[in-house]
Amino acid sequence: MIFAKKGESEVTKAIVESFLSMFKESIKSQVIIIGGGPAGLTCARELAKNKINVLVIERNNYLGGGFWIGGYFMNKVTFRAPSNEYLDEIGVKYEKVEEGLFVSDGAQACSKLIAAASDAGAKFLQLTDFEDVIIREKDGKAKVAGVVVNWSGVKGLPRQITCVDPVGLESEFVVDASGHEAHVIKALEKRGYIKTKGMGAMWVEASEDAVVEHTGEVFPGLIVAGMAVSETFGLPRMGPTFGAMLLSGKRAAEIILSKIKY
């Protein structure tokens, strides 16, 4: 026999105990990131590297978002300088297409980024849907103080058989890295705290700069990163080029690091 003799109960117990231990630690995190795409993963890595307790919430089972695919089902992802420097940092191989433009294998780039965030110490909750924000008021000022989540499968089941209440997770900061859908921002908008602008026309050449430049604290306790930035500010939308996602995620982490209480 090659493998150690372990029964089903021991295997299940290992899964449950390990998951619950992680989940218990995550009930109160320093930072919760909604969306495990390139912006969310980069932000998670940068924070975890700095010993910040960070939890990434992803509604799919797989992490990486659109980072696996470059556009039109073609699994090559492109980057414009200087975002290739971040690829060097996490060990992603790439080729130079022309001055300032690089192409990489989606599978390698995405898996390296997931591994980099994980290696740094970020924790993940997949198959988890963001449902709402937790708002706390102090001295008449509202602040985002966490998120309400549920198992993703709940939404797909008929209402009659799913009366599954969500749970609340608290944090000092929430990062909306949920892409075009900007789930957290939209939840705030629904409550009348903020008004989003919707995404503008496609203009790759300069919209990447604008996404990075507009990454920031859009509401007390809420940082917006990645494509959610375009949705919030009505910036020109981007084509399949990922540099801004990485640099926006990095910038979001820098902003949090400058504000977080250790």
């Binding site: 039109y72 903020i194 008004k195 602008k197 919707g198 503008g200 026309a201 203009w203 050449e205 300069a206 919209s207 990447e208 700069d209 604008a210 996404v211 430049e213 507009h214 920031g216 604290e217 859009v218 919030t232 500010f233 009505g234 910036l235 020109p236």
Partner: protein, 239 residues
């Protein structure tokens, strides 16, 4: 007449060459420091720019309720020597802001002012269209507009949709030819001012070889503005 040209520095724009070109038309031309950099300390200015952002290419409404981060972006961008891009602004509102800032010196009898912007400007017709030149007082010329305003040939867009790039000779982001193209547009600006000054109606030229021609396509810019020719009628207007 005195002609003032203001704007930020551009890697591929030679202001001296443009000033010398204008002087050939008997103008006392001079370059002034970037007006927007000069006025960037005004506290009201960032919000004004945040409010004139185009949000949707098909909706005339602008960004009437800017978020704090948008205002902060404008504040820091105004102060930059190499400004970031990525926002499209309403060109006519851009001119209005400059007009307010420069009101004391926009006397047509004394000097004509042309501002070179490093941002993308557009005007609304059926939708927002990116423009190179916005006629107003002052006249504003968008330098990146030279690349993104005039359309490329249809074949270029078709090829792009099919996933490959046609190797066409259009004006690029970093392109030494922009200085010459700007000379062509400066002729339009001067002609516009001249019409205002003489109380005449400003009309574009019908001759596609004349710099006063309204180029809609890149290939037309490469002919009409790049070569800085003037038709017989407009040549007489300048001398």
């Amino acid at each position: 007449m005195k002609l003032i040209i203001s704007g930020p520095d551009f890697e591929d724009i030679n202001y001296n060459e443009i000033i010398n070109f204008v002087k050939k038309f008997n103008f006392d031309a001079q370059k002034e420091e970037d007006f927007l950099l000069k006025f960037s300390q005004y506290d009201f200015l960032p919000e004004k720019f945040a409010k004139i952002r185009v949000l949707d290419p098909y909706k005339k409404e602008l960004n009437e309720e800017p978020l704090e981060l948008e205002i902060e972006y404008e504040r820091s961008n105004l102060k930059r020597k190499n400004r970031k891009r990525g926002i499209i602004y309403s060109g006519n509102h851009f001119v209005k802001i400059l007009k307010e800032l420069l009101k004391e010196r926009l006397d047509l009898k004394k000097e004509w002012v042309i501002y070179f912007s490093d941002q993308l400007l557009s005007t609304f017709e059926d939708r927002w269209h990116i423009r190179v030149i916005i006629f107003g007082i002052p006249v504003v010329i968008s330098v990146p507009g030279i690349v993104y305003g005039p359309a490329r040939d249809r074949e270029y867009y078709l090829a792009r949709e099919m996933g490959f790039n046609l190797n066409c000779d259009y004006i690029k982001e970093k392109d030494e030819r922009k200085t010459d193209v700007l000379k062509g547009y400066i002729l339009q600006a001067i002609y516009f001012y001249k019409c205002l000054y003489e109380n005449k109606e400003f009309k574009f030229c019908e001759d596609e070889n004349c710099s006063i021609y309204n180029s809609h396509w890149q290939r037309e810019v490469l002919n009409a503005q790049l070569k800085q020719n003037l038709c017989e009628k407009h040549l007489k207007e300048f001398f």
